[in-house]
Assembly symmetry: C2
Homo-oligomer: 567 residues x 2
């Protein structure tokens, strides 16, 4: 019997994964990978950290853990995989089962036959048609060539001010990197907030405020770039928007990516509604001999059942494993994602899993949330960092729907735990019952995630009635008569407070004996640092017969309306 | 109606938790806590980190996050809780519903009535009857007074050598703290390995080897302390065991704790087989008006259904919440633990959740394991650290049974995720399918936990046959003819290798064209750094018709038999 020929188009993440596992499972197959680029099997997600020198050497983005470059020679000798770089796949002939390719160095064309074909064609950055987009100093940020070009430009030019167009995942990571390099960095986002795909408005605004305060990043949301202006040398010098003009010697455009589906579409494969290649749970396209995986496919959101486009490296890897299994006759399945996404920008971490509150409301859930700032480990332990978690659940069933987290503290552990609960369709009670590991270097006896879940349950059970920062802000902007009861210590209030004549400071420890000073005919809104003492005070006041009482959820730590926080 | 009287005995962890939440839920109750100690509501788990100055001030172990001391006055003014320190509960009169107490300052006795009583009497350290146990310089390590005494002794005496008796949880944390202080530290453990309650022998030995290599801690396992010797001034100077004598100017005895159940036992409450107070799922004792929680109770291991004694702060906190709920007429339940435990010692983290392999085998499971060293985040990212994970599952059902982890890297996140899967009775496939967050600062595209689970599944599916370090060691100790095929780079092998004439170095990249050099009549055992290249080579050899091939699980990183590792 002739050797089976497996042809893989795309050599960045999913493609090499398929190739490597297929090689292990099918020792006699002939495995060929073609990629039009010069760089293969690279760590695309590491590139923002190369820009700000956290990753020291360009080569590290292509190296194995033991120091070998992951180039074509590595794949040939270590993996027995035939890797053709700078080779573009032009068309699939599904009848003859062959792919026409062009060697981009020589221009020569030829065909590669296949028994089974895998499309891992990835995604390309969306580049808006903007005047000035071709100026020197304007970059996209998708492949290692881009990262290297940005870095070289920074080294060669005296860049003081930078603009990042787009406040999505990559845009925010890049803004963090540029701010780490001490550039005056402005992020311009067309939507009304940063990370619109990832965070609810309240969490996005808190992160925005923190990034601005800690790193000096300027955010311009709800603003559209209209053109890029160049200087006499053809270098970008200014960014014009519908609302202003910003000096910038460096502009990075990161407004999203779009799946590369031309090859698939022209071969008549089914493209999904998201615009990405449609696959079944075995990662098979509409042609049974053609699989697809990675950033070119659409996947199932396991909580909604809907197809979404979510180009993440972790999903690409799992799909690659599933493709290889199926190629080798092991019918494993890929069930989709829960919408988990995490990032680091400057000194802040952010993450989300499951649905946002907005998504959940749109889907018809009766939503209840809990928002809680907390230290990620015991406050007395060195290196402890604050984080704010938001837990989202269905009021009717108690089912957990999603969790978001931001802060300098260990956010991602909590996101991963929440993703695990979501995987099983668990409830908020499940979350609270988890037997998580506790020791002072790692967390608090009640883990911050469980603390946030407790906060949610207390609301659900009617033990506390809360008011959000947004709602309080709206009230403060009116003439309404109410008492804003600040129960923190005087030194805390001196440091940062809401400046309003309705604010009264009575520390929690004094509150019991000063109850008579509080009016019984006005609403009393209690605020503290993180929402714990205000909850305590709420219960105290309710117990003492006060009826119109609310606790500000998350306290001053969740207050994004200035003065700047001390996060 | 008279105010309900809630009396709580014990003011360290569970007691104050009950008091605080009960206060919130029952604003009119009269809540009293009695504790015989001077220090209340303290962070006992933080004490090892106070010894090595990671926690800067003694007061921090008793402070709120906003800086107030958590003393009786704090509980009175902020919480409305009556807190009696230095007050010993002597006896419970269940008929009259009152507790006889003694003021330890004045010696005066009295009675405190209750409507409902909560026992949170905690645990005391086991102190073996040893000659010399009362010498100066010999300490137990249970309450802040102990921590302060150790610290003072270290400041006042010129301590060079220390002995920790007991290699359990506290003993290992303390050894790390003393080693951080540059003391020559010896740990003497009567059982055959360190952390016998927490880790399997293979993982314990790896951690032991790492702690010894990195911190110079000397471990003497399988050795029994026979007496402590003092100098002319009555200060400890030597520790005698059944196998040796060790100089030591400081000895800390940490051989475990024992629940304080005298009060309960003398009142006729049911004591469980573990020796701790028996409670139902509402944390109620055999007397419906008496609850118990914290280190004095036994709890259910949710995987075995058995009652165990597992005195952990996180469990105490959750029980405290459940007790308060039930006191307030909210019938919440406490379902028990999954055996999760984590610790930090020196620069190493360690953790376990679920069953160990040994426990699982004893329970009759047909066990399959996967052991995998891996970096906790992308290898090119600054601060990435190695960890070794061991995943334990039931071969028949695929059900996850437990996970252990050790290393300088982020172990605890993986333990928490595994604990979440165990909570739902999930399988190894569930573990692999989890949609965990990926970004280079946090993990690898395939999370180390999922990588370890994949390693297990590959064994289960017969894709690879492995040999453990133990088994290889046994083979090396015989005259058996086999080839130990080292497929690492030469520079890696120069750094650390198994010295044996049967070892042959053929790097993975050369292996394909040098297959002819390998004998077909001998067993070939392949080793690399972490077990990934040896797996690749295994598949290569099997594909090339070699039949007697094995891959060393975990490679050199999981090899504890010297020369010292480079972890």
């Amino acid at each position: 019997m002739a050797k089976e020929r497996i042809l893989i188009v795309g050599g960045v993440a999913a493609g090499p994964k398929v190739a490597a596992r297929t090689r292990r499972l099918m020792p006699n197959a002939e495995i060929t990978v073609v990629d039009k680029g010069r760089y293969i099997s690279y760590a695309g997600c590491g590139m923002p950290f190369y820009v700000d020198d956290q990753v020291g050497h360009f080569q590290e983005l292509f190296s194995t853990g033991y120091g070998l470059p992951r180039d074509a020679e590595y794949f040939r000798s270590e993996r027995g995989i035939n890797f053709l770089t700078r080779t573009e796949a032009l068309a699939i002939d599904r009848v003859r089962k062959q792919v026409r390719v062009r060697d981009l160095e020589t221009g020569r064309e030829g065909t590669l036959p296949y028994d089974r074909l895998v499309l891992a064609t990835g995604a390309d950055p969306v580049l808006p048609r903007l005047e000035g987009i071709d100026l020197a100093g304007v970059f996209k940020f998708r492949d290692p060539g881009d990262a290297q070009a940005v870095k070289k430009y920074l080294e060669q030019r005296n860049v003081q001010e930078a603009v990042v167009v787009g406040a999505g995942f990559i845009g925010i990571e890049l803004a963090g990197a540029l701010a780490n390099l001490k550039l005056l960095t402005t992020v311009i986002e067309f939507q009304e907030r940063i990370l619109p795909q990832m965070l609810d408005a309240d969490m996005a605004r808190l992160l925005e405020e923190r990034l601005a305060a800690a790193h000096g990043i300027e955010f311009r949301t709800g603003e559209r770039v209209t053109r890029l202006e160049g200087d006499a040398q053809g270098r970008v010098c200014r960014v014009h928007t519908d609302r202003g003009v910003y000096d910038a010697e460096l502009v990075i455009v990161a407004v999203g990516v779009r799946p590369n589906v031309n090859l698939a579409r022209e071969a008549g494969l089914v493209i999904g509604r998201t615009g990405a290649i449609a696959i079944d749970e075995h990662c098979r396209t509409s042609d049974p001999d053609i699989y697809a995986c990675g950033d070119c496919v659409e996947i199932t959101h396991r909580l909604t059942g809907e197809k979404i486009y979510a180009p993440f490296a972790s999903a690409a890897n799992r799909q690659g494993r599933v493709v290889a299994d199926n190629l080798a006759g092991r019918p494993s399945v890929y069930r989709g994602v829960l919408g988990t996404a995490v990032l680091q920008a400057g000194s802040f971490n952010a993450g989300r899993t499951g649905l946002t509150e907005e998504q959940a409301v749109k889907l018809g859930y009766e939503v209840v949330t809990g928002l809680a700032p907390q230290r990620d480990r015991t406050h007395y332990h060195p290196g402890s960092g604050m984080l704010i978690l938001k837990v989202i659940a269905d009021r009717v069933s108690g089912r957990l729907l999603g969790v978001q987290g931001i802060g300098p503290g260990e956010v991602v552990k909590r996101i991963d735990v929440a993703a695990s609960v979501l995987h099983f369709g668990g409830t908020v009670s499940d979350l609270i019952e988890l037997d998580l590991g506790y020791a002072p270097p790692f967390n608090t006896p009640v883990d911050p995630l469980q603390h946030a879940a407790n906060a949610l349950v207390n609301k659900l059970d009617g033990i506390v009635e809360t008011i959000s920062a947004d709602e309080l802000k709206a009230k403060l902007d009116t003439d309404e008569a109410f008492v804003l009861l600040d129960v923190r210590l005087e030194k805390e209030a001196r440091h940062r407070k809401i400046d309003d004549p309705r604010r009264v400071l009575v520390t929690l420890s004094e509150l019991r004996r000063r109850l008579a000073e509080l009016p019984r005919d006005k609403e009393i809104i209690i605020i503290c640092d993180i929402g714990v003492r205000s909850y305590e005070a709420y219960r105290l006041l309710r117990g003492a017969g006060f009826t119109r009482v609310k606790s500000v959820e998350g306290g001053m730590r969740a207050w994004p309306f200035g003065p700047a926080s001390m996060f």
